[in-house]
């Protein structure tokens, strides 16, 4: 029935599962992704889920990519359509020549299909109902049965899936064998009744290497454990809740005294975000490393305290797992939309340090580093993740830790230093870097105490409303922010093969799509130098990069090109030279999107691709 040749591709295709939220599909789908990894083939999975617990549509997309392109690709080569609610849209979304996998128990009118795709029906409900009587079992095993059928259709090694089932149900023999049984029910039915394999195939490779498969939120939480966080206060909000939950799990594993069983950490679920950041600030003021995890609406609520942290100079670490705003926005969709809100959070003149990890491995590193930075700079450090990195499993390099590393607790005046008669002024810039010394409460019976306040005060923390005293302090805070420039992770630059007048700036979760897009653009003859910004304040190399190029594209996932605004504002450069490339529909940005947007602009500039010029 197909008038288009079926897509034929080995280790390079996209499978999308359309399910009903709460039907237990998530673990079967994740097992599908993991099974492909076990074949040595990289995958990049993404959850597309509603703000709902049961009943609404949910999708899980697996990009199979031997080339290792971990960004979203766009388009679907095979749709596993398990949700009648979204059938029409799901079928319409398949690439011409693609495949539709569905439950053929009940006959469907031919109008429900397309002529240009291959339709594969497996009577999943019939198989399930004839095997199981318990409704819950029927529901759960149906997912494993389709996994079995897919393994046959895509030529996957069933042994590798069995191995995964074995690891998942280790010690639960009954569950283990029943899952393996269900897997083979689906697999055998497909082998006996369908042409296997189809054009899409998984072939064993060696492209995964020693990489790990982890969610950014879990990695960031582990970074907090390694970074020495002892206090975590949080309030549930998607997509950040799993940071605190992972921190709890990691602490249970790593942070209990082996003898007494007591906890070397304290986690409090606050009554709201105000309390959460208040607890963090109280704990940090008192010398503990503390953090909170939240998302946009939480940042809005925390801003008064963030201003206090800036002005009274109290360390704090805030992990912001960004989602689409404004207001409640799209709580389960990704964006990089809190750049301005965080960079200048709170009333009055404020500036804050932002870190932009690109993947879970960097989320781990930057999370740990955030605590050193917070204590060194005595201010709030934002770890800017987003839903795409935070809540999806991402293939990334293994996490690394240097055992010789000691924590940088910053400038803390000790009992001994006070005894020696060192001059202690809480807001006194003794080293010229804008960073004063602090003392922990309870340090010395007669020396080093001070009154912390959000009101203006002099260098010795004495209340003052003198204009000159206030300005002196505000200028020191600027000096401190300049010091921060050289302490935060530097931008990474990668130049095109040939010298070019064009550059591109990007950050965070845009990274894998950008890397892939560069290849596409090069294929079209466009040469671009690229700079991945990893922190704010911007290092001087950002200004140099801008000076070296006529036009610089700034690729980001928000409507108002917020990073571009920040660059223009902080570097005082002509905005015309910074071309915004924005993507903000809540889905992760794709290489196709970037390549088209930049390519079109290059064409608009009438840039003759080099290849054409020479040919």
């Amino acid at each position: 029935m197909s008038d288009k040749k079926p897509i034929s591709s080995v280790n390079d295709f996209v499978v999308r599962f359309a399910n009903v939220n709460g039907s237990g599909s998530a673990s079967a789908n994740e097992m599908f992704a993991r099974a492909i990894l076990r074949h040595g083939v990289p995958v990049s999975p993404r959850n597309i889920f509603p703000s709902n617990i049961q009943g609404l549509p949910t999708w899980y997309e697996v990009r199979v990519t031997e080339a290792g392109h971990l960004g979203a690709r766009g388009g679907v080569d095979m749709m596993v359509a398990m949700n009648p609610q979204t059938w029409d849209k799901d079928v319409a979304g398949i690439e011409p020549g693609g495949y539709l996998f569905y439950d053929s128990t009940k006959p469907m009118p031919s109008t429900k299909f397309r002529d240009d795709i291959t339709v594969i029906g497996v009577p999943l409900t019939a198989i399930t109902n004839s095997t199981y009587t318990d409704p819950r079992q029927r529901q759960l095993f149906k997912n494993i049965i389709y996994l079995g059928s897919l393994s046959a259709l895509l030529d996957m090694d069933p042994k590798l899936i069995e191995q995964l089932i074995g690891e998942q149900y280790k010690g639960k023999e009954k569950l283990l064998s029943s899952n393996v049984h269900a897997l083979h029910l689906g697999r055998d039915w497909a082998l006996q009744n369908l042409k296997c394999p189809i054009g899409l195939r998984v072939k064993k490779s060696d492209k995964v290497g020693d990489r790990i498969f982890i969610e950014g939120n879990s990695a960031a939480a582990l970074g907090a454990v390694y970074g020495g966080a002892t206090v975590c206060a949080w309030y549930p909000i998607t997509p950040s809740s799993s940071v605190a939950e992972a921190f709890t799990a990691h602490c249970k594993k790593f942070r209990h005294d082996p003898e007494t069983g007591k906890a070397k950490y304290a986690i409090v679920q606050g009554e709201d975000e105000l309390a959460s950041i208040g607890i963090v600030i109280g704990a940090s003021w008192n010398g503990a490393r503390a953090f909170t995890a939240t998302s946009g609406p939480g940042i809005s609520l925390m801003t008064e305290f963030i201003g206090l942290s800036y002005f009274a100079e109290i360390p704090a670490v805030i992990m912001n797992i960004q989602r689409a705003g404004p207001s409640t926005g799209m709580p389960t969709r990704t964006q990089q939309c809190d750049i301005i809100a965080c960079a200048y959070a709170s009333h009055g003149d404020t500036k804050h340090v932002l870190l932009f990890p690109e993947d879970p491995a960097e989320a781990f590193e930057f999370a740990a580093a955030a605590f050193d930075l917070a204590e060194r700079l005595q201010t709030t450090i934002f770890l800017m993740l987003d839903l795409d990195i935070g809540m999806n499993h991402r293939l990334c390099r293994p996490l690394k830790w240097d055992d010789s590393k000691q924590y940088d607790r910053g400038k803390v005046m000790t009992t001994e230093m006070l005894e020696e008669g060192r001059d202690f002024g809480r807001y006194l810039d003794v080293d010229g870097d804008g960073i004063p010394y602090r003392t922990y409460p309870g340090t010395h019976p007669t020396k080093g105490s001070y009154f912390t306040r959000g009101t203006s005060r002099d260098r010795y923390a004495r209340y003052s409303e003198e204009g000159s005293v206030y300005a002196d302090n505000m200028q020191r805070l600027v000096r401190k922010f300049e010091t921060a420039q050289d302490l935060v992770p530097r931008p990474l630059q990668a130049n095109a093969e040939r010298p070019t007048k064009y550059g591109v700036i990007y950050f965070g979760s845009t990274s894998p799509a950008m890397d892939e897009a560069i290849g596409m653009l090069e294929a079209r003859g466009h040469q671009l130098d690229r700079l991945r910004i990893r922190a704010f304040p911007f290092h001087s190399s950002v200004a140099s990069f801008l000076a070296e190029h006529d036009f610089v594209y700034v690729v980001e996932q928000n409507r108002d090109s917020q990073l571009r605004q920040l660059i223009v504002n902080e570097n005082g450069i002509d905005p015309v030279r910074l071309v915004p490339i924005v993507h903000y529909d809540g889905s992760p940005i794709t290489a196709r999107y970037i390549a088209k947007a930049i390519g079109d602009h290059q064409d608009h500039l009438k840039v003759t691709p080099l290849r054409k010029a020479v040919s």
């Binding site: 709201d272 208040g278 704990a283 940090s284 959000g454």
Partner: protein, 351 residues
């Protein structure tokens, strides 16, 4: 400059406490509140209680929110760290500080605007969690610093200085604290130092969430006829359930001069509270009874003062979280960081 330096010299014959500190060692800067402010009397009572308990002054952390009451930590315990935080957020800051170092004494100072209005939620949740603290509300029923607006503890029908009648119902923080599970609940009056000092001392000794509501008339904006938080009104309507003394290994302060029975309560830290009962029926170990008693007297327009409820075996947030005895802020990488070998194993589990 609006801060005032206080001379450091003092009379050589000043009495010293067990640790050798004089009363002066517990003082702070000179108050910038209005002369005669009830809050200054509370400050004096805090100084007195800390002196009596022979607390090392620098081992107290004083935390407050915003408002007249929240300024007062600058006026006592000058060698302690203080934190004048954000309006209504003292409880969360104190909770965090307490989690970081369980070895200090935490004194939370707040007002009725700070705790009953903007910070009502934080007040409630810090009490619920059983944070080990002494939470004092200096309650004058009015926003003093912004010149006389009603607060949420102002009684319905009471009149502001401008003659406006309050039509909203009042929040009784003591009743709420009892309901939320505070393990030490008391009310007193700033003008009654004899009652207030031992209450503060007992609250400091209590391991758990101690709450004291101190009616503290605002002489500038809430001390007129028609106010229910004025000196005259409170004196006339005060109904003390008990008087108490705190015995910390020293001779009790004349336990036997008041009428009624005496009941000694031993707290977790070993200190003893001697309750001289004025109302023979009053049992301070009965939460439900305290709630009923309070409601009954409120209906009669009486302000009940004294120790309303105490659970001498209370647990605090650290017990609930099962945290180590060592303060968390002293732990370093050697105990906090699992190291590279553990990380290699973790990596291996993710392939």
């Amino acid at each position: 400059m609006t801060y005032i330096a206080k001379p450091k010299f003092h009379h050589p014959g000043l009495k010293k406490n067990e640790l050798g500190y004089t009363h002066r060692d517990y003082e702070g800067k000179i108050s910038t509140l209005c002369a005669g402010c009830g809050h200054d009397s509370i400050t004096a009572s805090i100084i007195e209680a800390c002196y009596e308990l022979s607390i090392e002054p620098h081992r107290v952390a004083k935390i407050s929110g915003i408002g007249c009451s929240s300024k007062t930590p600058d006026y006592f315990l000058g060698n302690s760290h203080g934190f004048n935080s954000v309006h209504g957020r003292m409880p969360s800051v104190l909770t965090g500080a307490n989690l970081a170092n369980r070895d200090l004494i935490y004194l939370g100072v707040s007002g009725d605007g700070d705790s009953a209005s903007i910070g009502f939620g934080q007040f409630a949740h810090s009490i619920r969690r059983g944070v080990n603290m002494t939470y004092i509300v200096e309650n004058n029923g009015v926003y003093g610093l912004t010149k006389g607006q009603f607060s949420a503890t102002a009684d319905r029908g009471s009149k502001s200085k401008k003659g406006v009648t309050n039509t909203d119902n009042a929040i009784d923080l003591v009743a709420i604290a009892l309901q939320l599970g505070a393990t030490f609940v008391a009310r007193s009056f700033s003008g009654d130092k004899a009652q207030l000092v031992p209450l503060i001392a007992a609250a400091i000794g209590h391991k758990g969430a101690s709450f004291i509501d101190v009616i503290s008339p605002c002489i500038a904006f809430n001390n007129h006829a028609g106010s229910t938080k004025s000196f005259d009104y409170v004196r006339e309507h005060n109904d003390a359930v008990n008087r108490l003394d705190v015995l910390v290994g020293r001779d009790p302060i004349a336990v036997d001069y008041a009428p009624g029975t005496v009941q000694v309560v031993e707290q977790h830290d070993g200190s003893k509270i001697a309750l001289r009962k004025i109302d023979a029926d009053y049992d301070p170990h009965d939460r439900l009874g305290a709630q009923t008693f309070l409601a009954r007297h409120a209906a009669k327009g009486q302000i009940v003062t004294g120790l309303l409820y105490v659970d001498p075996d209370a647990e605090d947030l650290h017990s609930h979280l099962n945290t180590v005895e060592t303060p968390l802020n002293t732990l370093e990488a050697d105990t906090l960081c699992p190291g590279s070998a553990a990380l290699d194993k973790f990596n291996a589990s993710l392939r």
